[in-house]
């Protein structure tokens, strides 16, 4: 019975963690879609694509993460060295 309780607790924790990750992803996509329309420069703010890409890479979504990092480089050329460093960490 004790084992069952522990397993249940772990499951609940896992669900909470997944929910947190899901919330994080949702907010990043929200920032990206909203800033394109509403921000002062009508552009995604610096670091958002890079940060999103980093979280995706950590989550194992390599292809999408790399795509986001490429977008950051395109939008903000000064980030190139930093993004290249980050990419080298996941290759």
């Amino acid at each position: 019975l004790l084992l069952l309780v522990v397993v249940m607790l772990l499951l609940v924790l896992l669900v909470l963690l997944l929910l947190l990750v899901w919330l994080l992803v949702l907010t990043f996509e929200e920032i990206i879609s909203k800033s394109k329309k509403k921000a002062t420069r009508k552009r995604v703010p610096p670091g958002i694509y890079a940060d999103y890409g980093f979280h995706l890479l950590q989550d194992g979504q390599l292809e999408k993460g790399m795509r986001m990092l490429e977008k950051e480089k395109e939008l903000y050329p000064e980030s190139e060295q930093m993004v290249n460093y980050l990419m080298s960490q996941f290759k």
Binding site: P45, E80, Q89
Partner: protein, 220 residues
């Protein structure tokens, strides 16, 4: 409460009357060097508050980005600091920073020192003494430096002094560290010359600059 309001309005009057210096004379190096990308160092925490370091570290990039600079995301630079075992900025503050420009392409490095962090239950506020220092990565010149004693207030006023005292104590206890750090950063960076992504870039040299050492009360 009334006394506080009176004093703060008087303080505003005094500040308003003192002769102002413009940003061009206050931060000439920043206008000369025109840094674009800024990397934030983990803060040096001299206070007894353990969480102060992370609270400040994670809230420093946003006001910089809003001022028109390219601030490296906190999560990615943290990966770099950990890999280089440079989590303790106190060892690096007087070292040349050229290597950061070489490896990451940063134009400037932001150091912060948290001197103290104190909760004042009676006036329901948090008192933070913090110093900001922006150094050019290639020139090692001081581009921007300010030191402030900021009192972040979260008081309520219902008319009954006793009830106020009780709610204020609870409110101070609940004040999030991150919110305090955010308020401090927002206030301090108000007079920072705008960066390349701001419409005001290069045009704000004549706007007023704040005092190098200041003490202020911010309400939440």
């Amino acid at each position: 409460m009334k006394k506080i309001v009176l004093f703060s309005s008087m303080a505003f009057l005094i500040i308003g009357c003192s002769p102002k210096i413009d940003r061009l004379t206050a931060y000439p190096n920043l206008y000369n060097e025109k840094p674009l990308s800024i990397i934030v160092m983990p803060p040096i925490n001299l206070s007894t508050k353990v969480g102060a370091k992370t609270s400040f570290y994670n809230t420093l990039t946003m006001p910089l980005a809003e001022s028109g600079y390219y601030a490296f995301p906190a999560s990615i630079s943290m990966l770099f600091w950990k890999e280089q075992s440079a989590y303790d900025a106190e060892l690096l503050i007087d070292k040349p920073m050229g290597v950061l420009n070489e490896m990451l392409g940063a134009d400037a490095v932001l150091f912060t020192t948290i001197h103290s962090w104190r909760k004042v239950a009676l006036t329901s506020s948090v008192e933070v003494e913090i110093e900001y220092l922006l150094k050019g990565a290639l020139s090692d010149d001081v581009l921007y430096q300010r030191k402030g004693l900021l009192t972040v207030q979260s008081s309520s006023n219902s008319g009954s002094a006793l009830a106020d005292l009780a709610t204020n104590v609870i409110k101070t206890a609940l004040t999030k560290e991150v919110d305090v750090a955010q308020k401090c950063n927002e206030y301090t960076f108000q007079d920072m010359p705008r960066g390349k992504y701001s419409p005001l870039f290069g045009k704000d040299g004549t706007s007023g600059a704040g005092k190098k050492e200041f003490s202020v009360t911010v309400t939440q």
